[in-house]
């Protein structure tokens, strides 16, 4: 069979030149588990979780790095594939501090979490990515428990000496997604693979702490990390995935207009990530977009109208403050005409606010003295 299609699990699918087996399968709605694969970057085949059986091939092939070929017959779910993936997962689990599955029962991460927290009496030290971890998710799906092989001792202590990103090397599976995110997606070129063999480590500039490296704390690596190895320090311990809702919004900083997912618990933003595939940023954020959200919760926020009296600002009700503004403006318009009023709108607030303000100045006050910092 070589008719320009590829057969996956017995069904023929068309494909485009240069597409990998994984890409064809994903487009066809066939799910293949991946850990190291990061969409849009060069496949590394590092984790071997995406292996599939290809008729005629001597070994299982990594679907993320094998190009689709005409006539190829692929099985994504054969017993050999399942067994291989389970083995891969067991090896990954034993490579570091992946202790969320010892009991090996149940598939609901919340149930598992609550059970563990009850045994320990608290949940503070449990992996911060519990419930939002690809390794845990696949381990549960394939029945890997992390108990088959002796667990390796962590080779490196965690890095916690910067304000935004925790690097817990004991939970790193060296999948390289962070390296791809940093080098191929954001092109900040701050991190890479370092050392060899069991000493392997993701390093920044000759193994320096992030804040001494070229890292610009965009956090793309944190968003890409499939385990608890890279953790958003500001949000650690403040939430678990089952108690947040996700709200899409637009970033409040520069004019790129990045689309953000706000992770909100009890009416409070606890974490921000980029909206994957959302335009214009396609999942990417910068340091301000990802970590610059908590100013709204500052104790210094204005909570009530204020009126200056004897040189000091004092609290006032809305009616009092609005009446004062309206009366004073009427008085000035009456005495000096509407052009004695002027206003500047805000280039950070929503469109609807600027529309209303210019409508107020033009339609109500009858002046065109309305501007904002448009040209700076």
């Amino acid at each position: 069979m070589s008719d320009g299609t590829i057969s996956i699990n017995g069904k023929a699918y068309p494909f485009k030149p240069d597409q990998t087996i994984l890409e064809v399968a994903t487009e066809a709605g066939i799910s293949i588990p991946t850990l190291c694969h990061l969409k849009g970057t060069t496949p590394t085949g590092a984790c071997r979780l995406c292996v599939v059986e290809v008729k005629g091939a001597r070994n299982l092939l990594t679907s993320c790095s094998t190009p689709a070929a005409s006539g190829m017959e692929v099985n994504t779910d054969s017993p050999a594939v399942t067994q291989s993936r389970k083995m891969t997962l067991e090896l990954l689990l034993s490579s570091g501090n992946h202790d969320c599955l010892n009991e090996g029962s149940g598939t609901d991460t919340k149930v598992l979490f609550d059970a563990r927290a009850e045994i320990d009496g608290h949940s503070d030290h449990l992996c911060p990515s519990w419930g939002e971890c690809k390794l845990q998710e696949y381990a549960l799906a394939y029945g890997a428990t992390g108990t088959k092989y002796p667990r390796a001792k962590p080779a490196y202590p965690p890095e916690v000496n910067n304000p935004l990103i925790i690097r817990d090397f004991s939970r790193c599976i060296l999948c390289g997604r962070c390296v791809q995110a940093c080098n191929e997606v954001q092109v900040n070129e701050a991190i890479s693979y370092g050392y060899r063999g069991s000493e392997s480590k993701i390093v920044a500039l000759g193994d320096l702490p992030l804040f001494q490296s070229a890292c610009v704390f965009c956090g793309e690596c944190v968003q890409a990390c499939p385990t608890g190895a890279l953790v958003d320090k500001k949000s650690k311990g403040k939430w678990r995935p089952w108690d947040v809702e996700t709200i899409r919004t637009t970033c409040p900083y520069c004019g790129v207009g990045c689309q953000q997912s706000l992770h909100v618990k009890d009416g409070r933003i606890v974490k921000v990530t980029g909206v994957e595939e959302g335009l214009p940023n396609k999942g990417r954020l910068c340091v301000k977009g990802r970590f610059g959200y908590d100013f709204i919760y500052s104790d210094e926020r204005l909570t009530t109208p204020l009126i200056r009296e004897n040189g000091e600002l004092r609290e006032a009700s809305w009616d009092e403050a609005l009446d004062l503004v309206a009366d004073k403006l009427k008085e000035i318009i009456g005495e000096s005409g509407p052009d004695a009023l002027a206003g500047v709108s805000c280039a950070r607030s929503i469109n609807e606010d600027s529309y209303q303000m210019q409508k107020l100045f033009r339609g109500v006050f009858k002046t065109n003295n309305i501007d904002h910092c448009a040209r700076t």
């Binding site: 610009v216 900083y253 335009l279 301000k288 805000c346 303000m357 009858k366």
Partner: protein
Amino acid sequence: MTNSFGEFDRAKMFFVIGSNMTEAHPVASTFLKNAVKNGAKLIVADPRKHKLVNYADLHLRLKVGSDIALLNALMNVIIEEKLFDPAFVSENTEGFEALSEEVSRATPEAMAPICGIDAETIREAARMLASVSPAMLCYTLGITEHTCGKNNVMTVANLQMLLGNMGVECGGVNPLRGQNNVQGACDMGALPGIFHGYQKVGDPAARKKFEEAWGVTDLPEKPGLMMPEMMEGLEDKKVRAFWIFGENLANTEPDIHKVEHELASAEFLICQDIFLNETTKFAHVVLPAAAWSENDGTFTNSERRVSRVRTASTPPGVAKPNWWIFKEIAKRFGHEWPANSAQEIWDDEVAALAPNFKGITYDRIENDGLQWPCPSTDHPGTVFLHKGGQFTHGKGVFNITNWTPPAEIADAEYPLVLSTGRRLYHYHTRTQTGRCEGLNDLLGEETCDISPTDARRLGIQPQETVRVSSRRGTVEVTARITPEIPEGMVWMAFHFRETNANWLTNAAYDPETLTAEYKACAVKVEKM
């Protein structure tokens, strides 16, 4: 922007002038860097060797404020060597003869001393730029924040028209807007001469349309004051009441001593904001507003994309959405405005009353936003403008420009040029980022960035506190010695109050746009 961010990663040639994109628009720069990694060429024109220069094929390290000299010299070469797009020029533009004649005088040799780039490099740049079509031209405030800002903009447009880079994918003139909704505030008519959707107040038909829609009479036809005029009006009492919505003018405007004197002269100053700041010190009334993520609405980004903003938290205390505050004042003047939510304002008024936004309604932008012009609800939005070389006013006009120096240039007493801007970890006057856990730890103070040569000459050591003075003010600030900065220049931002560059900057303005010359003034740096 005439074009879109989505075109960046497949563009083949970029000319970036006056834009420190990796710090001011970091995510946009990632797509540009992706393109470079895929083989696109990049020319960066900037006095500073900022990070994007690491990815450039050519860095044109021009002197501050010499953009027109450089651009006209590039066009001189492009015309002289017939590297322009003759079909585009003849079919889609006007004024080529006059442009040719003018730039014929701007030879690379004549312009080289002005811009500080040797003639052969200018020729190389012109040839490189013309070698790939289309090319995307990106600029930021390095172009606009000059007394010749408007001419700078017209000159970059001339260059792109000459090369036929307009009205095509992966081309265009692309100003990256500095603030999340500065595009939107313009679009919404928060400008002295236009209603929203760029409908002119001087147009009787437009006034009539809004008089009917708003149920009012006698809308004023004369364009209003621009911001610097408003502030000068405070001093001479022509402006008696000043309403500042969400701006910290006491820190953001040039020459803080002058600005604070003007604000202190206000008879009645209303500040509507989310925090007390240096500007509210002068306020007679402060109105507490809901912040980002505390109400629903829309922002419009640099590429004209209207995207949703959604509520995640409740505002503190009795703080209210800004649109509500304006509606309440209108009510006290006897105007009952029907819209009672951001969605009603947008759908019933903004979209309904402007042809460019007519097709954009909230139900269409639940996920990705739409780019205007979007004239009908079945229109997909507009990714790039001027398709097929069709400009808004017919043919694209070459506007002749001549280089003029900054209003204040270095001299014996103030021998260095100060240029200013934004840094990665902070935003404007830090009212927001200064209150975000972590960001202050990454950048906790301002520095005066200075070249190794000047630092050595002045005997300044790394991290030493120095005194930086202009004719308007003095700050004491830590020196950061870096080869990013060329000899003869220093660079500072406006994020921190005590060391704010605006104590030093010059309140000299472009005569038409009244944009201040933040990018150039004369200073001296002294050891303390």
